[in-house]
């Protein structure tokens, strides 16, 4: 089972435009978060956003992989996360549409465990002591 957050989305835009949106500093700053990204493997950059308790609003990143119109990945360290990895994979579908496979992986400790076994759901806090944990433990 994948130990990551994953999304696959189809965009009605050609792969060139998608690639530009992922690798242009201004574009990334607009749709994701303000950053000083450069499309160079090894380049260190930061995303800056609003802070909240437990998170100073800064995400430290480093470009890990870059494959024109196909793949972008960078490390992601901020808040509770250290050295997790964000990956965007693009596939040109018919020259007009593009499939994006997004993945945020490389979680450590508790988060990693939880992503592999989602025993929890909404309402869990109320039920934990009585039903759900018991059931999980019995099925283990």
């Amino acid at each position: 089972m994948p130990k990551s957050i994953q999304f696959t989305k189809i965009y009605d835009f050609p792969v060139e435009k998608m690639w530009n949106a992922l690798t242009d500093q201004q574009a990334l700053s607009e749709w994701l978060m303000p950053c000083d990204f450069l499309p160079e493997v090894g380049h260190r950059f930061t995303f800056r956003t609003k802070s909240y308790p437990g998170f100073n609003g800064i995400v430290d990143c480093k470009v890990l992989e870059l494959k024109e119109k196909e793949l972008l990945s960078f490390s992601w360290s901020g808040g509770s996360l250290s050295d997790s990895v964000v990956t965007f994979r693009l596939t040109d579908l018919d020259g007009k549409k593009t499939r994006l496979e997004f993945e945020h992986s490389g979680f450590k400790g508790l988060m990693n465990t939880f992503l592999t076994r989602k025993i929890l759901s909404i309402g869990w806090k109320e039920k934990i002591l009585t039903v759900q944990l018991q059931k999980y433990l019995e099925n283990e």
Partner: protein
């Protein structure tokens, strides 16, 4: 590295945690109930404490005897964090579509 499920992979630790989830106990009571040595119980408790599933607190009448409390909200906190992170990316990736659509108009 903290790993809750490794901590409760052991059936005895699961039973201890379930017992503590209903009522806090001290090492002595746990060892009686499970017919185990205090040393063995202490080892299990240490793993639960290291994984943030149990906290130790001094008892009311007797400060020497520490009570073990289940801290299951540790699990819920992590779960909430993941749900928020998933929500963050999902809305950003939808926002990417809006960003691209905006470019089309120009």
């Amino acid at each position: 590295m903290s790993d809750v499920f490794k901590a409760i992979a052991d059936p005895t630790r699961r039973e201890i945690l379930l017992m503590l989830a209903q009522r806090s106990e001290n090492i002595c009571m746990i060892s009686k109930k499970f017919q185990m040595s205090r040393t063995a119980v202490s080892k299990h408790i240490k793993i639960l404490v290291d994984n943030n599933l149990v906290t130790l607190q001094s008892g009311k009448e007797d400060g020497r005897e520490r009570y073990c409390h289940a801290r299951l909200e540790a699990l819920a906190e992590v779960n909430d964090y993941i749900i928020r992170l998933e929500g963050f990316w999902n809305s950003k990736l939808d926002g990417l579509n809006d960003y691209l659509a905006k470019g089309e108009d120009h």
